[in-house]
């Protein structure tokens, strides 16, 4: 399959997933408890807080992913973690990060982050050579730490809103801004074109994606188990973690100005920071 066909297939699949679905029923079957009118409807909650107008369809995708994870991905990840020693898993991770350097560099530049673009460029050069093709993160020892960037973050720095939240099959949590960024990043990624005109390399991009997913899942088996066990609504928990995490990534870890408002016990306040202190020693 050519890269163009793959892109069209991905877009067509996404279009189907974007079709609004009917929200799940609020009233559990068989309930005989007295009805209490909620102050805020589910729709209000989702619209105002979660930005999830297609929650019904998203939850269906989430449930399917949970099944796929249980019967396929998690068992594979468990074996991967058991078979590969830690240093080998680190090597895989380093290799994957290095392969993604062109995309990170492009987004550093698009965000006007000259220093970070320089860091990415130097990291790529050092790790691709001294680091044996990226297997070892030698650049970190030269005070050039890894950072991540993608076009979704770039759009965020340009002021684009996140758009409605979506949960995609296999891909997981996203939103309109981040999915757009995902598609553009594939266009920025040289590996997308590696198999053009050479069918022998057709499975290189797919292989990288599969290995990325397995490695990511393997490194977070215990964490996700813990989150699921402690969540009264795992779907909502993942949604919140994703949205907050992406907002933090767009800020590059800078302090947020939209703080939980404990005074009213309600939403988010937007105080004006008075000052920033360097830290007590």
């Amino acid at each position: 399959m050519s890269a163009n066909k793959k892109l069209l297939w991905a877009m067509a699949t996404t279009a189907l997933l974007l079709v609004p679905t009917i929200a799940i029923a609020e009233e559990p079957a068989g309930s005989d408890a007295p009805k209490v009118a909620p102050v805020v409807t589910t729709q209000d909650i989702q619209t105002q807080d979660a930005n999830d107008p297609f929650e019904g369809g998203n939850r269906v995708m989430f449930d399917i992913n949970q099944v796929l994870d249980e019967v396929l991905l998690r068992p594979v990840a468990v074996v991967y973690r058991a078979v590969l020693p830690d240093f080998a898993q680190d090597g895989v991770r380093n290799f994957m990060n290095n392969l993604n350097s062109p995309v990170i560099f492009a987004n550093d530049v698009l965000q006007g982050e000259g220093d970070r673009a320089g860091t990415t460029l130097l990291r790529f050069g050092i790790n691709s050579t001294i680091g044996v093709g990226g297997l070892f993160d030698v650049a970190k020892e030269f005070d050039l730490p890894y950072h991540d960037e993608d076009f979704g973050q770039t759009l965020g720095t340009w002021g684009a809103g996140e758009g409605p939240y979506f949960y995609f099959l296999v891909m997981g949590p996203s939103n309109v801004r981040d999915f757009t960024g995902f598609v553009v990043d594939r266009g920025l990624d040289p590996l997308t074109y590696v198999n053009w005109g050479d069918d022998d390399l057709e499975y290189v991009p797919l292989g990288r994606t599969v290995l990325n997913v397995i490695d990511l899942r393997a490194r977070n088996i215990d964490t996700l188990d813990e989150i699921e066990r402690a969540s009264v609504d795992y779907y909502a928990s993942i949604r919140s973690l994703y949205r907050q995490s992406r907002a933090d990534a767009i800020r590059n870890g800078a302090p947020s100005t939209d703080l939980p408002d404990f005074e009213s016990g309600g939403g988010i306040s937007s105080p004006s920071p008075i000052s920033q202190n360097s830290g007590a020693e």
């Binding site: 981040d178 989150i227 009264v232 609504d233 995490s245 992406r246």
Partner: protein
């Protein structure tokens, strides 16, 4: 995938810390004073956690959390507007369940404690009596340092730790969205959330035995 990768990395201590809120009758302070106050509390907590040979470690740490926790304020915040449709008795039951749930979650993670520590790196004065103290987790085995921030609120007589942020994720917001979603699917009935929390707490405790 990069977003998902960031998500799971940031989730590591979200799951571990659960809800941590502290209160203290310390004099009001800002900036450096708040940082020193935070570092002092961290040192106390870490000292207890490092007593790995002490069979009473769990009990001591539980007492430490209870001594400084303002769970009620955090619990009520997580209810958002749903608290208006609940009775005082229902809210009181929920606060109790939330306290046990948060403590059990932390106790569960305590068993996996690996000599980590936190170092204060700075603070932000959000407004008078409202300070965010930033720290990093000192852990030699970690690929990257983890950022954890504590939110302090206080008037002229006391500072209170009311929230914890892990890698940019405020735990109170995550809890609020979970509970709001659950209540939305259960017609706003708070007792159902309380019952679920109690059952979940019991499962966590059973898993530790």
């Amino acid at each position: 995938m990069s977003g998902l990768s960031g998500l799971v990395r940031r989730s590591v201590l979200v799951a571990g810390l659960g809800i941590l809120s502290f209160t203290s009758a310390q004099p009001a302070a800002s900036g450096p004073d708040a940082e020193a106050f935070t570092q002092n509390l961290i040192n106390q907590g870490v000292a207890i956690l490092r007593e790995t040979g002490d069979p009473a470690r769990r009990t001591k740490f539980r007492a430490f959390i209870f001594q400084y926790a303002d769970v009620e304020r955090t619990a009520i915040f997580t209810l958002g507007n749903y608290k208006r449709s609940a009775s005082e008795a229902e809210i009181a039951d929920f606060v109790t369940a939330f306290r046990e749930f948060a403590t059990a979650t932390y106790e569960s993670r305590l068993a996996q404690y690996k000599n980590q520590s936190l170092k204060v790196t700075g603070s932000v004065d959000n407004r008078p009596g409202d300070v965010t103290v930033n720290t990093v987790v000192v852990d030699r085995s970690a690929r990257e340092p983890l950022r954890i921030a504590f939110r302090l609120l206080g008037g002229s007589s006391a500072y209170k730790f009311v929230d914890v942020q892990v890698e940019g994720i405020w735990l109170s917001i995550e809890q609020k969205e979970q509970f709001g979603s659950f209540l939305g699917q259960n017609n706003g009935r708070l007792p159902r959330l309380t019952t679920d929390l109690n059952a979940r707490t019991q499962r966590i405790l059973n898993g530790m035995r």
